[in-house]
Amino acid sequence: MPRLLSGLTVTIEATVLGMLLALALGLFWTICRRSPNKLLAGLVHWIVEFVRSTPLLLQLYFFFYVLPAAGIILSPLLTGLLALGLHYSSYTTEVYRAGIDAVPKGQWDASTALGFSKSYVWKSIIMPQAIPRVLPILGNYFIAMFKDTPLLSAITVMEIFQQARLVGAEQFRYLEPFKMVGIVFLILSLIAAQMEIALEKRYVVRHS
Protein backbone atom coordinates (compact mmCIF):
# COMPACT_ATOMS: atom_id res chain seq x y z
CA MET A 1 0.00 0.00 0.00
CA PRO A 2 2.59 2.68 0.90
CA ARG A 3 4.35 1.94 -2.37
CA LEU A 4 1.16 2.30 -4.32
CA LEU A 5 0.52 5.57 -2.52
CA SER A 6 3.95 6.92 -3.35
CA GLY A 7 3.31 5.82 -6.96
CA LEU A 8 -0.02 7.62 -6.87
CA THR A 9 1.71 10.81 -5.78
CA VAL A 10 4.02 10.59 -8.78
CA THR A 11 1.07 9.91 -11.10
CA ILE A 12 -0.84 12.93 -9.84
CA GLU A 13 2.26 15.08 -10.01
CA ALA A 14 2.87 14.04 -13.60
CA THR A 15 -0.75 14.68 -14.59
CA VAL A 16 -1.13 18.07 -12.96
CA LEU A 17 2.25 19.45 -14.01
CA GLY A 18 1.98 17.84 -17.45
CA MET A 19 -1.42 19.46 -17.96
CA LEU A 20 -0.16 22.86 -16.81
CA LEU A 21 2.67 22.56 -19.31
CA ALA A 22 0.24 21.43 -22.04
CA LEU A 23 -2.06 24.39 -21.32
CA ALA A 24 0.76 26.94 -21.36
CA LEU A 25 2.59 25.48 -24.35
CA GLY A 26 -0.69 25.06 -26.25
CA LEU A 27 -1.46 28.74 -25.72
CA PHE A 28 2.02 29.63 -26.92
CA TRP A 29 1.53 27.56 -30.10
CA THR A 30 -1.86 29.18 -30.67
CA ILE A 31 -0.40 32.67 -30.42
CA CYS A 32 2.49 31.75 -32.75
CA ARG A 33 0.11 30.27 -35.30
CA ARG A 34 -1.79 33.58 -35.39
CA SER A 35 1.38 35.58 -35.82
CA PRO A 36 1.51 37.86 -38.86
CA ASN A 37 4.98 36.36 -39.40
CA LYS A 38 4.09 33.62 -41.90
CA LEU A 39 7.37 31.76 -41.41
CA LEU A 40 6.84 31.43 -37.64
CA ALA A 41 3.16 30.53 -38.06
CA GLY A 42 4.01 27.88 -40.66
CA LEU A 43 6.87 26.43 -38.65
CA VAL A 44 4.74 26.10 -35.53
CA HIS A 45 1.91 24.60 -37.56
CA TRP A 46 4.23 21.80 -38.70
CA ILE A 47 5.74 21.24 -35.25
CA VAL A 48 2.23 20.78 -33.89
CA GLU A 49 1.22 18.45 -36.73
CA PHE A 50 4.37 16.41 -36.20
CA VAL A 51 3.87 16.03 -32.45
CA ARG A 52 0.19 15.22 -32.87
CA SER A 53 0.82 12.60 -35.53
CA THR A 54 3.40 10.49 -33.70
CA PRO A 55 2.72 8.18 -30.71
CA LEU A 56 3.28 9.46 -27.21
CA LEU A 57 5.23 6.33 -26.30
CA LEU A 58 7.65 6.99 -29.14
CA GLN A 59 8.08 10.58 -27.99
CA LEU A 60 8.77 9.37 -24.44
CA TYR A 61 11.52 7.03 -25.64
CA PHE A 62 12.89 9.72 -27.90
CA PHE A 63 13.17 12.24 -25.07
CA PHE A 64 14.52 9.59 -22.69
CA TYR A 65 17.32 8.36 -24.96
CA VAL A 66 18.05 11.35 -27.17
CA LEU A 67 18.11 14.25 -24.71
CA PRO A 68 20.97 12.74 -22.61
CA ALA A 69 22.87 12.13 -25.84
CA ALA A 70 22.48 15.84 -26.55
CA GLY A 71 23.93 16.57 -23.12
CA ILE A 72 20.61 17.38 -21.44
CA ILE A 73 20.32 15.15 -18.40
CA LEU A 74 16.95 15.19 -16.68
CA SER A 75 15.28 12.86 -14.20
CA PRO A 76 12.92 10.29 -15.76
CA LEU A 77 9.93 12.06 -14.22
CA LEU A 78 10.94 15.44 -15.64
CA THR A 79 11.55 13.87 -19.05
CA GLY A 80 8.13 12.25 -18.87
CA LEU A 81 6.51 15.51 -17.87
CA LEU A 82 8.05 17.34 -20.81
CA ALA A 83 6.94 14.68 -23.28
CA LEU A 84 3.41 14.52 -21.84
CA GLY A 85 3.12 18.30 -21.82
CA LEU A 86 4.46 18.63 -25.35
CA HIS A 87 2.26 15.85 -26.70
CA TYR A 88 -0.91 17.21 -25.14
CA SER A 89 -0.05 20.78 -26.12
CA SER A 90 -0.64 19.70 -29.71
CA TYR A 91 -4.24 18.95 -28.68
CA THR A 92 -4.79 21.95 -26.44
CA THR A 93 -3.66 24.35 -29.17
CA GLU A 94 -6.45 23.01 -31.40
CA VAL A 95 -8.90 23.39 -28.54
CA TYR A 96 -7.89 27.00 -27.94
CA ARG A 97 -8.21 27.67 -31.67
CA ALA A 98 -11.75 26.30 -31.73
CA GLY A 99 -12.62 28.40 -28.68
CA ILE A 100 -11.19 31.57 -30.19
CA ASP A 101 -12.95 30.98 -33.51
CA ALA A 102 -16.23 30.54 -31.64
CA VAL A 103 -16.06 34.06 -30.17
CA PRO A 104 -18.33 36.18 -32.40
CA LYS A 105 -16.60 38.56 -34.81
CA GLY A 106 -18.58 41.42 -33.28
CA GLN A 107 -16.46 41.12 -30.12
CA TRP A 108 -13.35 41.99 -32.16
CA ASP A 109 -15.19 44.85 -33.87
CA ALA A 110 -16.35 46.31 -30.56
CA SER A 111 -12.82 45.97 -29.14
CA THR A 112 -11.35 47.85 -32.10
CA ALA A 113 -14.06 50.50 -31.88
CA LEU A 114 -13.21 51.10 -28.22
CA GLY A 115 -9.50 51.30 -29.00
CA PHE A 116 -8.28 48.50 -26.70
CA SER A 117 -4.67 47.36 -27.05
CA LYS A 118 -4.04 43.97 -28.63
CA SER A 119 -2.86 42.40 -25.39
CA TYR A 120 -5.94 43.66 -23.50
CA VAL A 121 -8.24 42.29 -26.20
CA TRP A 122 -6.65 38.84 -25.93
CA LYS A 123 -6.37 38.77 -22.18
CA SER A 124 -9.63 40.41 -21.14
CA ILE A 125 -12.07 40.10 -24.05
CA ILE A 126 -11.33 37.06 -26.19
CA MET A 127 -9.77 34.43 -23.90
CA PRO A 128 -12.28 34.89 -21.04
CA GLN A 129 -14.97 34.02 -23.60
CA ALA A 130 -13.02 31.35 -25.48
CA ILE A 131 -11.89 29.27 -22.49
CA PRO A 132 -15.26 28.65 -20.82
CA ARG A 133 -16.55 27.40 -24.19
CA VAL A 134 -13.82 24.77 -24.38
CA LEU A 135 -13.59 23.82 -20.69
CA PRO A 136 -15.41 20.51 -21.28
CA ILE A 137 -12.90 19.54 -23.98
CA LEU A 138 -9.90 20.60 -21.90
CA GLY A 139 -11.39 18.56 -19.05
CA ASN A 140 -11.54 15.52 -21.30
CA TYR A 141 -7.90 15.92 -22.25
CA PHE A 142 -6.98 16.25 -18.59
CA ILE A 143 -8.60 12.90 -17.85
CA ALA A 144 -7.10 11.34 -20.99
CA MET A 145 -3.65 12.52 -19.92
CA PHE A 146 -4.20 11.11 -16.44
CA LYS A 147 -4.95 7.73 -17.97
CA ASP A 148 -1.89 7.99 -20.23
CA THR A 149 0.52 8.37 -17.32
CA PRO A 150 1.18 4.58 -17.02
CA LEU A 151 3.16 5.02 -20.24
CA LEU A 152 5.75 6.80 -18.11
CA SER A 153 6.62 3.41 -16.62
CA ALA A 154 8.28 2.68 -19.97
CA ILE A 155 10.96 5.23 -19.09
CA THR A 156 11.37 3.95 -15.49
CA VAL A 157 9.21 6.55 -13.76
CA MET A 158 7.97 5.05 -10.49
CA GLU A 159 4.35 5.99 -10.97
CA ILE A 160 1.48 3.93 -9.61
CA PHE A 161 1.35 1.39 -12.47
CA GLN A 162 5.06 0.68 -12.26
CA GLN A 163 4.84 0.30 -8.48
CA ALA A 164 1.95 -2.15 -8.85
CA ARG A 165 3.96 -4.18 -11.33
CA LEU A 166 6.93 -4.33 -8.95
CA VAL A 167 4.71 -5.29 -6.03
CA GLY A 168 3.15 -7.99 -8.19
CA ALA A 169 6.52 -9.30 -9.30
CA GLU A 170 7.81 -9.55 -5.74
CA GLN A 171 4.80 -11.34 -4.35
CA PHE A 172 3.74 -13.26 -7.47
CA ARG A 173 0.30 -11.74 -7.06
CA TYR A 174 -0.61 -9.33 -9.84
CA LEU A 175 -4.36 -9.29 -9.49
CA GLU A 176 -4.64 -7.32 -6.26
CA PRO A 177 -2.22 -4.48 -7.04
CA PHE A 178 -3.61 -4.01 -10.53
CA LYS A 179 -7.15 -4.13 -9.19
CA MET A 180 -6.15 -1.36 -6.77
CA VAL A 181 -4.64 0.69 -9.59
CA GLY A 182 -7.80 0.28 -11.69
CA ILE A 183 -10.00 1.38 -8.81
CA VAL A 184 -7.77 4.37 -8.05
CA PHE A 185 -7.90 5.49 -11.70
CA LEU A 186 -11.65 5.02 -11.83
CA ILE A 187 -12.29 6.98 -8.64
CA LEU A 188 -9.93 9.83 -9.49
CA SER A 189 -11.24 10.12 -13.07
CA LEU A 190 -14.80 10.32 -11.77
CA ILE A 191 -13.80 12.97 -9.24
CA ALA A 192 -11.98 14.93 -11.94
CA ALA A 193 -15.02 14.73 -14.20
CA GLN A 194 -17.24 16.06 -11.41
CA MET A 195 -14.82 18.88 -10.71
CA GLU A 196 -14.77 19.74 -14.38
CA ILE A 197 -18.58 19.89 -14.47
CA ALA A 198 -18.63 22.14 -11.42
CA LEU A 199 -16.06 24.44 -13.04
CA GLU A 200 -18.08 24.50 -16.23
CA LYS A 201 -21.23 25.44 -14.36
CA ARG A 202 -19.45 28.25 -12.64
CA TYR A 203 -18.06 29.80 -15.82
CA VAL A 204 -20.51 28.91 -18.54
CA VAL A 205 -23.99 29.13 -17.07
CA ARG A 206 -23.54 32.64 -15.75
CA HIS A 207 -23.27 34.28 -19.14
CA SER A 208 -25.50 32.31 -21.43
Binding site: T112, L114, F116
Partner: protein, 261 residues
Protein backbone atom coordinates in the same frame (compact mmCIF):
# COMPACT_ATOMS: atom_id res chain seq x y z
CA UNK B 1 -5.38 65.39 -32.69
CA UNK B 2 -7.74 68.12 -31.51
CA UNK B 3 -11.22 68.42 -32.88
CA UNK B 4 -10.41 71.51 -34.88
CA UNK B 5 -13.67 73.07 -35.95
CA UNK B 6 -12.09 74.32 -39.16
CA UNK B 7 -11.74 70.79 -40.42
CA UNK B 8 -14.69 68.70 -41.52
CA UNK B 9 -15.40 65.81 -39.14
CA UNK B 10 -15.12 63.38 -42.04
CA UNK B 11 -13.60 63.77 -45.47
CA UNK B 12 -13.56 60.92 -47.97
CA UNK B 13 -11.93 61.44 -51.35
CA UNK B 14 -12.28 59.09 -54.31
CA UNK B 15 -12.53 56.10 -52.00
CA UNK B 16 -12.63 52.65 -53.53
CA UNK B 17 -13.38 49.53 -51.48
CA UNK B 18 -13.30 46.00 -52.87
CA UNK B 19 -13.88 42.56 -51.40
CA UNK B 20 -11.80 40.44 -53.75
CA UNK B 21 -13.09 41.48 -57.15
CA UNK B 22 -16.41 42.80 -55.95
CA UNK B 23 -16.48 46.60 -55.78
CA UNK B 24 -18.38 47.83 -52.73
CA UNK B 25 -17.61 51.56 -52.97
CA UNK B 26 -16.19 53.40 -55.93
CA UNK B 27 -14.99 56.97 -56.42
CA UNK B 28 -16.82 57.97 -53.29
CA UNK B 29 -16.56 61.58 -52.07
CA UNK B 30 -18.13 62.55 -48.78
CA UNK B 31 -17.78 65.50 -46.43
CA UNK B 32 -19.48 65.60 -43.06
CA UNK B 33 -19.06 68.80 -41.10
CA UNK B 34 -18.63 69.11 -37.35
CA UNK B 35 -21.84 68.45 -35.46
CA UNK B 36 -23.77 67.38 -38.53
CA UNK B 37 -26.39 64.62 -38.18
CA UNK B 38 -26.17 62.58 -41.37
CA UNK B 39 -28.53 59.73 -42.23
CA UNK B 40 -27.43 57.12 -44.79
CA UNK B 41 -30.25 55.24 -46.46
CA UNK B 42 -30.47 52.81 -49.34
CA UNK B 43 -30.97 49.15 -50.19
CA UNK B 44 -28.86 46.55 -48.40
CA UNK B 45 -25.50 46.00 -50.04
CA UNK B 46 -25.37 49.62 -51.20
CA UNK B 47 -22.26 50.33 -49.14
CA UNK B 48 -23.76 52.39 -46.29
CA UNK B 49 -22.44 50.23 -43.47
CA UNK B 50 -19.10 49.87 -45.25
CA UNK B 51 -18.60 53.64 -44.97
CA UNK B 52 -19.07 53.44 -41.20
CA UNK B 53 -16.75 50.42 -40.93
CA UNK B 54 -14.05 52.26 -42.86
CA UNK B 55 -14.35 55.30 -40.58
CA UNK B 56 -14.11 53.00 -37.52
CA UNK B 57 -10.90 51.46 -38.97
CA UNK B 58 -12.60 48.06 -39.21
CA UNK B 59 -12.12 47.87 -42.99
CA UNK B 60 -9.26 48.76 -45.29
CA UNK B 61 -9.70 50.66 -48.54
CA UNK B 62 -7.91 50.08 -51.82
CA UNK B 63 -7.85 53.61 -53.20
CA UNK B 64 -8.49 57.16 -52.10
CA UNK B 65 -8.04 59.22 -48.95
CA UNK B 66 -9.94 59.51 -45.67
CA UNK B 67 -9.51 62.26 -43.06
CA UNK B 68 -11.11 62.32 -39.61
CA UNK B 69 -11.13 65.77 -37.96
CA UNK B 70 -8.38 66.67 -40.44
CA UNK B 71 -6.08 63.77 -39.48
CA UNK B 72 -5.31 61.27 -42.21
CA UNK B 73 -6.72 57.78 -41.66
CA UNK B 74 -5.89 56.76 -45.22
CA UNK B 75 -3.72 58.78 -47.52
CA UNK B 76 -1.80 58.57 -50.69
CA UNK B 77 1.93 58.19 -50.08
CA UNK B 78 4.02 57.90 -53.25
CA UNK B 79 1.10 56.49 -55.16
CA UNK B 80 0.22 53.93 -52.48
CA UNK B 81 -2.90 54.07 -50.29
CA UNK B 82 -1.51 53.91 -46.76
CA UNK B 83 -3.23 53.59 -43.40
CA UNK B 84 -2.44 55.59 -40.28
CA UNK B 85 -0.51 53.50 -37.77
CA UNK B 86 0.48 53.43 -34.11
CA UNK B 87 -0.38 56.48 -32.06
CA UNK B 88 -2.07 58.30 -34.97
CA UNK B 89 -4.44 55.39 -35.57
CA UNK B 90 -5.05 55.09 -31.84
CA UNK B 91 -5.93 58.80 -31.59
CA UNK B 92 -8.42 58.55 -34.44
CA UNK B 93 -10.08 55.55 -32.81
CA UNK B 94 -10.54 57.31 -29.50
CA UNK B 95 -12.35 60.18 -31.24
CA UNK B 96 -14.77 57.93 -33.07
CA UNK B 97 -17.39 55.75 -31.39
CA UNK B 98 -19.59 53.09 -32.92
CA UNK B 99 -22.79 51.25 -32.05
CA UNK B 100 -23.50 48.01 -33.87
CA UNK B 101 -26.61 46.24 -35.09
CA UNK B 102 -25.96 43.28 -32.78
CA UNK B 103 -24.88 45.37 -29.76
CA UNK B 104 -21.62 43.41 -29.29
CA UNK B 105 -21.64 43.89 -25.53
CA UNK B 106 -18.96 41.94 -23.68
CA UNK B 107 -21.01 39.08 -22.19
CA UNK B 108 -18.46 38.25 -19.47
CA UNK B 109 -18.53 41.75 -17.99
CA UNK B 110 -21.30 43.34 -15.99
CA UNK B 111 -23.06 46.33 -17.56
CA UNK B 112 -21.03 48.88 -15.60
CA UNK B 113 -17.74 47.24 -16.55
CA UNK B 114 -18.80 47.23 -20.21
CA UNK B 115 -18.93 51.03 -19.91
CA UNK B 116 -15.85 51.60 -17.78
CA UNK B 117 -13.29 49.19 -19.28
CA UNK B 118 -12.31 51.34 -22.26
CA UNK B 119 -12.10 54.75 -20.54
CA UNK B 120 -9.88 53.16 -17.86
CA UNK B 121 -7.74 51.01 -20.16
CA UNK B 122 -7.55 53.24 -23.22
CA UNK B 123 -7.86 56.79 -21.90
CA UNK B 124 -6.12 56.02 -18.56
CA UNK B 125 -8.82 57.75 -16.55
CA UNK B 126 -9.18 56.96 -12.88
CA UNK B 127 -11.83 54.51 -11.79
CA UNK B 128 -13.95 56.79 -9.59
CA UNK B 129 -14.26 59.42 -12.29
CA UNK B 130 -15.21 56.80 -14.89
CA UNK B 131 -17.66 55.08 -12.52
CA UNK B 132 -19.48 58.36 -11.99
CA UNK B 133 -19.58 59.09 -15.71
CA UNK B 134 -20.80 55.56 -16.48
CA UNK B 135 -23.58 55.71 -13.90
CA UNK B 136 -24.66 59.11 -15.27
CA UNK B 137 -24.80 57.65 -18.77
CA UNK B 138 -26.80 54.63 -17.61
CA UNK B 139 -29.20 57.05 -15.96
CA UNK B 140 -29.46 58.96 -19.21
CA UNK B 141 -30.40 55.84 -21.19
CA UNK B 142 -32.85 54.81 -18.46
CA UNK B 143 -30.89 51.86 -17.09
CA UNK B 144 -29.47 53.19 -13.82
CA UNK B 145 -30.74 50.08 -12.01
CA UNK B 146 -28.95 47.68 -14.40
CA UNK B 147 -25.35 48.65 -13.59
CA UNK B 148 -24.65 45.33 -11.87
CA UNK B 149 -26.62 43.16 -14.34
CA UNK B 150 -25.04 40.77 -16.86
CA UNK B 151 -25.76 41.58 -20.52
CA UNK B 152 -27.52 38.20 -20.87
CA UNK B 153 -30.13 39.39 -18.36
CA UNK B 154 -31.19 42.34 -20.53
CA UNK B 155 -33.70 42.61 -23.37
CA UNK B 156 -32.52 43.59 -26.86
CA UNK B 157 -33.61 47.20 -26.40
CA UNK B 158 -31.80 47.41 -23.06
CA UNK B 159 -28.66 45.86 -24.54
CA UNK B 160 -28.62 48.41 -27.32
CA UNK B 161 -29.07 51.26 -24.86
CA UNK B 162 -26.11 49.91 -22.88
CA UNK B 163 -24.11 49.75 -26.13
CA UNK B 164 -24.92 53.40 -26.83
CA UNK B 165 -23.88 54.35 -23.30
CA UNK B 166 -20.67 52.32 -23.73
CA UNK B 167 -19.78 54.26 -26.88
CA UNK B 168 -20.62 57.56 -25.15
CA UNK B 169 -18.38 56.72 -22.19
CA UNK B 170 -15.41 57.29 -24.49
CA UNK B 171 -16.75 60.80 -25.16
CA UNK B 172 -16.22 60.60 -28.92
CA UNK B 173 -16.59 63.54 -31.31
CA UNK B 174 -18.04 61.35 -34.02
CA UNK B 175 -20.65 58.67 -33.42
CA UNK B 176 -21.34 55.95 -35.96
CA UNK B 177 -24.65 54.13 -35.65
CA UNK B 178 -24.90 51.03 -37.82
CA UNK B 179 -28.52 49.88 -38.17
CA UNK B 180 -28.87 50.02 -34.42
CA UNK B 181 -32.57 49.12 -34.40
CA UNK B 182 -32.57 46.46 -37.14
CA UNK B 183 -32.12 43.49 -34.81
CA UNK B 184 -34.69 44.67 -32.28
CA UNK B 185 -38.25 43.52 -31.68
CA UNK B 186 -40.63 46.19 -33.01
CA UNK B 187 -41.98 47.03 -29.57
CA UNK B 188 -38.58 48.07 -28.19
CA UNK B 189 -37.38 50.09 -31.20
CA UNK B 190 -39.03 53.17 -29.70
CA UNK B 191 -36.99 53.13 -26.48
CA UNK B 192 -33.72 53.08 -28.45
CA UNK B 193 -34.87 55.83 -30.83
CA UNK B 194 -35.82 57.97 -27.83
CA UNK B 195 -32.27 57.77 -26.55
CA UNK B 196 -30.83 58.63 -29.96
CA UNK B 197 -33.26 61.50 -30.46
CA UNK B 198 -32.19 62.97 -27.14
CA UNK B 199 -28.56 62.55 -28.14
CA UNK B 200 -29.05 64.16 -31.55
CA UNK B 201 -30.85 67.17 -30.08
CA UNK B 202 -28.69 67.78 -27.03
CA UNK B 203 -25.14 66.97 -28.06
CA UNK B 204 -22.77 68.62 -30.44
CA UNK B 205 -21.48 65.26 -31.63
CA UNK B 206 -21.22 64.50 -35.30
CA UNK B 207 -23.51 61.56 -36.00
CA UNK B 208 -23.58 59.20 -38.97
CA UNK B 209 -26.61 56.99 -38.91
CA UNK B 210 -27.24 54.03 -41.21
CA UNK B 211 -30.91 53.24 -40.84
CA UNK B 212 -34.08 51.80 -42.27
CA UNK B 213 -36.21 53.93 -39.95
CA UNK B 214 -37.21 56.59 -42.48
CA UNK B 215 -39.44 58.57 -40.17
CA UNK B 216 -36.65 58.78 -37.63
CA UNK B 217 -34.07 59.81 -40.24
CA UNK B 218 -36.43 62.52 -41.41
CA UNK B 219 -36.90 63.77 -37.88
CA UNK B 220 -33.31 64.01 -36.64
CA UNK B 221 -31.06 64.28 -39.71
CA UNK B 222 -29.67 67.54 -41.04
CA UNK B 223 -28.90 65.77 -44.27
CA UNK B 224 -29.83 62.48 -45.90
CA UNK B 225 -27.69 60.46 -48.32
CA UNK B 226 -29.29 57.92 -50.58
CA UNK B 227 -26.84 55.23 -51.67
CA UNK B 228 -27.13 52.49 -54.23
CA UNK B 229 -24.53 50.16 -55.72
CA UNK B 230 -21.57 51.74 -53.94
CA UNK B 231 -22.41 55.29 -55.06
CA UNK B 232 -24.05 58.27 -53.44
CA UNK B 233 -27.04 58.72 -55.72
CA UNK B 234 -28.56 61.72 -54.04
CA UNK B 235 -27.86 63.94 -51.06
CA UNK B 236 -29.99 66.67 -49.53
CA UNK B 237 -32.12 67.83 -46.64
CA UNK B 238 -34.72 65.34 -45.36
CA UNK B 239 -37.46 67.39 -47.06
CA UNK B 240 -35.69 67.21 -50.43
CA UNK B 241 -34.96 63.50 -50.26
CA UNK B 242 -38.22 62.28 -48.80
CA UNK B 243 -40.65 64.74 -50.40
CA UNK B 244 -39.01 65.69 -53.70
CA UNK B 245 -36.39 63.12 -54.66
CA UNK B 246 -34.94 64.00 -58.08
CA UNK B 247 -33.31 60.68 -58.92
CA UNK B 248 -35.43 57.83 -60.19
CA UNK B 249 -33.58 55.27 -58.07
CA UNK B 250 -34.35 57.25 -54.93
CA UNK B 251 -38.00 57.49 -55.87
CA UNK B 252 -38.26 53.74 -56.51
CA UNK B 253 -36.52 52.89 -53.24
CA UNK B 254 -38.67 55.21 -51.14
CA UNK B 255 -41.87 53.98 -52.76
CA UNK B 256 -40.94 50.39 -51.96
CA UNK B 257 -39.91 51.15 -48.39
CA UNK B 258 -42.91 53.35 -47.57
CA UNK B 259 -45.33 50.82 -49.03
CA UNK B 260 -43.69 48.04 -46.99
CA UNK B 261 -43.66 50.16 -43.86
Amino acid sequence: MSSDTHNPAVQMRQVEKKYGKQIVLSELDLDVHQGEKLALIGPSGSGKSTILRILMTLEAIQKGEVYIDGSPLWKNVNGKTTSATGQDLHNIRTHVGMVFQHYNLFPHMRVLENLTAAPIQVLNKNREEVDTLARDLLEKVGLADKAEAWPAELSGGQKQRVAIARALAMQPDIMLLDEVTSALDPEVVGEVLDVLRDLAKHSGMTMLLVTHEMAFAKEIADRVLFMDGGHIVESGTPEQIFNNPTEERTQTFLKRILRAG
